[in-house]
Symmetry: C2
Subunit: 191 residues, 2 copies
């Protein structure tokens, strides 16, 4: 029989998908909880543009610094594997696949070594939807990861195979967005 | 004619609703962006239980401390106005309405004084849905707030009047949740 403590430490595979806002922001928000528990957090951006998540990265850098200097919370690793890409200007090409592969290989090595307690694979669902990685291989690797490592995958158009394997799936759906009225992105809100 | 800078500094009223996870976590995630911009952030919890958002609060306290000691980012105010309440054990009674009113009065005073650049009113939609405050009064106050103050409201069952007034509305919808299989909440994931 499992103890309550054991039941409260099951590895979770979590997906945030849908066409609305909040997929990545909710992942970064939930990372705060893990950080506060003293967990090692790995954030891996699979799509990167100049301002993309720069604010969140700055905040996490401070949290990592707080951990290093005072021991509060946990350590944070933040890496970008995505090409210079935005929703508006996509630079198609083999380099995207190569960067996705490089990022995924890095994550695979860390999962095998149990480097982090929580991984945020930002826009990784989008990478899978684009066909830049083999979905079956990814799902198999995630499903067989050792120990108690939580993984949060964000991105639109998440492949059904990953949804089937995930423990928790939320769809962030747009009800209303000011861009629909032609309004501009807001500093501090969109980035 | 408005400049791009002006167009990029429009006050936003944002709602995160729906029955899925991520409403509050996305709000706390987007607060990181505002913090990184150097904004003053006000977080007001309208529902509070022992562990509820304790991790996020700890992280924001560190960010506020980083601001106070090194000047990075912005200041953070975090207050709880909700009763000791969870989804499982609701203590119904007049105290809930009184606490909601106290919290809302505090927010009204701050909006009038333009205290913060970003307000996170956590579970406030739920408070409105419960009828603890007058929705018309709340919507009128939010719609007529002065300056460039962004407001994020989270919670289930957001009243239509608030959705109609909001600039950006996202519904976090559950596709799959481990509680459906009878699994326990996870430290670092649920709190």
């Amino acid at each position: 029989m499992s103890t309550t403590a054991q039941l409260r430490h099951q590895p979770r595979l979590i997906v945030h998908t849908g066409d609305g806002k909040g997929k990545s922001t909710a992942a970064f928000g939930s990372g705060l909880r893990g950080w506060a528990q003293g967990w090692s957090i790995g954030v891996f951006q699979f799509i990167k543009s100049g301002k993309w998540h720069a604010g969140e990265q700055k905040a996490y850098e401070q949290l990592n610094l707080a951990h290093e200097t005072t021991g509060v919370g946990g350590p944070v690793e933040w890496q970008c594997f995505g090409p210079g890409w935005t929703w508006l200007h996509s630079t198609e090409g083999a380099d995207q696949e190569a960067m996705a592969r490089e990022g995924w290989d890095h994550v695979c090595a860390q999962l095998a070594a149990q480097t982090h307690r929580l991984y945020i694979l930002d826009e990784f669902a989008h990478v899978l939807a684009k066909g830049w990685l083999d979905v079956d291989e990814v799902v198999k690797t995630l499903a067989s990861r050792p120990g108690c490592q939580h993984v949060v995958v964000t991105g639109r158009h998440c492949p059904q195979e990953l949804i089937d394997t995930a423990d928790l799936v939320t769809s962030m759906d747009k009800i209303k967005h000011p861009f629909d009225k032609g309004e501009r992105g807001q500093a501090g809100i969109e980035w």
